[in-house]
């Protein structure tokens, strides 16, 4: 009786998962084994493991790594300062707020800021550096991506810092540790879970960024995300697009499995 009603409650959830998680993955896998004429084939996979796509994959990973790294470098100290601040909930809200704004709107805002006659160039000109090409560079791509992803990195780190028992910091100091040693040996190891969650939340979506690559990087940066978009919307080669997607899904699963398992090991 009890288990029956519990199963009943599970139906909407199961239906949701089946419809929006399992079905799309099955479809993607299905398409990845179809060539452009609609025949069963492994040609998409053969094509994927050629230098063109490998270079694209490498560059995707490289940019995702850069974005994750810079987000972490900005977010960790910020989160740390936040936990010490007086009105931390308010500050947190102010930092989270931009993530509620649509990605496209933010991208367009940056086009305005970084454009030839934008605010950034006006500033550079006034300090005597002259106008620079900011938009459509690697710098602007990484900068804007980091800006967009910071809240996702900051939140889990902030939470793990908040959970940290402040007496542990005193204990480390009491045992002779300098502030830096205290950070290295106590604070950072005990907030590593937050760092891992933050890195997951940034690295995985950063791998498949596409809109920003066109708007901010002017298609100079071609990531796997861009390639998928192009195959589905422009070249109509759904099979190839699906193959790249399958690859990304596998990579994400591996990343989650690895970081997830370590986390349990450290805690449990």
């Amino acid at each position: 009786m009890k288990t029956n009603s519990r199963n009943l409650y599970l139906i909407p959830y199961a239906a949701w998962i089946a419809l929006f998680v399992v079905a799309p993955i099955v479809l993607i896998v299905y398409y990845s084994f179809r060539d452009i004429e609609g025949n069963w084939s492994l040609s998409n996979y053969a094509h994927f493991f050629t230098p063109v796509y490998m270079r694209m994959t490498l560059s995707s990973f490289w940019y995702a790594l850069l974005i994750t790294l810079f987000s972490l470098l900005v977010a960790y100290p910020t989160a740390y300062l936040l936990t010490k601040a007086k009105h931390k909930q308010l500050w947190l809200l102010l930092i989270i707020l931009p993530s509620w704004v649509n990605l496209l709107l933010k991208a367009y805002a940056f086009i305005g800021l970084f454009g030839t006659y934008g605010f950034a160039n006006a500033f550079l000109e006034s300090v005597g550096l002259g106008r620079q090409q900011i938009l459509f560079t690697d710098f602007s791509f990484v900068f804007v991506s980091v800006y967009i992803f910071i809240p996702f990195m900051l939140l889990p780190i902030f939470n793990s810092l908040e959970e940290l028992n402040p007496t542990l910091i005193q204990a480390a100091r009491d045992l002779g540790a300098s502030p830096w040693t205290t950070f290295r040996r106590v604070v950072f190891p005990l907030t590593i879970d937050g760092v891992k969650s933050g890195c997951q939340a940034v690295f995985i979506p950063a791998l498949s960024l596409f809109m920003i690559t066109r708007l901010i990087a002017g298609n100079r940066v071609i990531t796997l995300g861009t390639a998928i978009e192009q195959h589905f919307l422009v070249t109509q080669d759904w099979g190839m697009g699906a193959t790249i997607a399958v690859f990304l899904v596998i990579v994400m699963a591996v990343i989650m499995a690895v970081t997830g398992r370590r986390r349990r090991g450290a805690r449990g």
Partner: protein, 368 residues
């Protein structure tokens, strides 16, 4: 200041950002190699004093000296002092061995030396063989021992212990009281132990500081404080007692409960209003009409070792008696006591004046 003074507080005042002072003008000296207890109700500033000694906070006013050196501005990691925290504060990501080795690794000690010292410290607290345990696998009592080992392995001159026994059950607590006292003797270093439990303080200490609302009310050996409390707060806080308003007729003669009694305290003005303390175990039950007082028994409780009898005299004063003899509720009984059992407290007397008066007059009284 004597040579053996290791910690000195000189008129230390502490305010946490703009609030009322948590400590005001606290001065005391702590000698090398003794067991000290800071005793007082919750919120009176005991932890704050430990935090000042450890260096987690700085005094708002006044100076703190460690081995003769002013340490107000010395950071916590540079002080020869270690703390056993109230919640133990063991590092959850390190096992028992690494927790204990933490301070030694920071000193960049050789691995062989660390091994030897950690083993030694764990043996000291009876945890040999627990090196590879995770902290979460340890019981409350074991965690506490790890915390002690982690502190003493650094060979501090002073060990600060913030209510380390309060989380343990009664049996374990009594065991640990004995063990801690024993440990302090073996190490020969100064322990500053914080508790709000007066029995614990009386059982363990060489010297007790009784604190109340950020002030030291009285300091002294357990017997000093128990036998000669300076005021009502100390008398009440250190064990149960009968406290009554009284008038000094003249030195060595005091009037309370409608009668005059001989006592052993002097140095008062004739007719001065005072309070007297008589400990419940100093009252002896006699036949009605025989003792110095007559009370009617209102309640009787068996406490295992003794009966706890509450009664009232003709003036309505309440009397608490501890006796191995039984009495019946409603009966009248007599109470007898020695002149030495009466301890007299002057209103608003400073500890200094109190000590001087006790020294000057009690001895004369004893010779009478």
């Amino acid at each position: 200041m004597t040579d053996s003074t290791i910690i000195r507080f000189d008129k230390v005042t502490l305010q946490y950002d703009g609030d009322d002072a948590v400590l005001s003008d606290v001065s005391f000296e702590i000698e090398h190699g003794k067991f000290y207890t800071l005793l007082g109700p919750s919120g009176c500033g005991k932890t704050t004093i430990l935090r000042l000694i450890a260096g987690f906070i700085q005094p708002t006013q006044g100076d703190i000296y460690l081995s003769g050196r002013r340490i107000n501005d010395v950071p916590a990691n540079k002080r020869q002092v270690n703390t056993v925290f109230q919640d133990y504060a063991l590092f959850p990501h390190l096992n028992v061995y690494e927790n204990v080795a933490f301070g030694l690794r920071i000193k960049k000690m050789k691995q062989a030396a660390i091994d030897a010292k950690v083993k030694e410290a764990l043996r000291f607290v009876n945890l040999t063989g627990y090196e590879n345990r995770e902290i979460r696998e340890m019981s409350g009592g074991q965690r506490q021992r790890v915390a002690i080992a982690r502190a003493i392995v650094n060979e501090p001159e002073v060990l600060l212990l913030d209510e380390p026994l309060s989380a343990l059950d009664l049996k374990l607590r009594t065991e640990m009281q004995v063990e801690l006292r024993e440990l302090q003797r073996r190490l020969g270093i100064t322990f500053i132990f914080v508790t709000h439990d007066q029995e614990e303080a009386l059982a363990m200490s060489d010297e007790i500081f009784v604190l109340n609302q950020g002030r030291i009310e009285q300091s002294g050996t357990p017997t000093d404080i128990y036998d000669e409390p300076i005021n009502r707060f100390v008398a009440d806080f250190i064990g149960e007692s009968n406290i009554l308003p009284a008038v000094m007729v003249r030195d060595y003669l005091v009037e309370f409960a409608g009668r005059e009694f001989e006592c052993v305290d002097g140095g008062f003005h004739p007719g001065e209003n005072v309070e007297i303390v008589i400990r419940p175990e100093d009252l002896e039950i006699t036949a009605p009409g025989e003792g110095k007082l007559k009370i009617r028994v209102d309640s009787l409780l068996f406490r295992g070792v003794h009966y706890e009898i509450v009664g009232s005299d003709e003036d309505g004063n309440r009397w608490l008696v501890h006796s191995t003899r039984k009495a019946k509720v409603g009966d009248e009984i007599g109470l007898d006591f020695e002149p030495e059992a009466i301890h007299i407290m002057r209103f608003g007397e400073s500890e200094e004046d109190f000590d001087k008066r006790i020294e000057e007059f009690t001895e004369v009284g004893d010779e009478d």
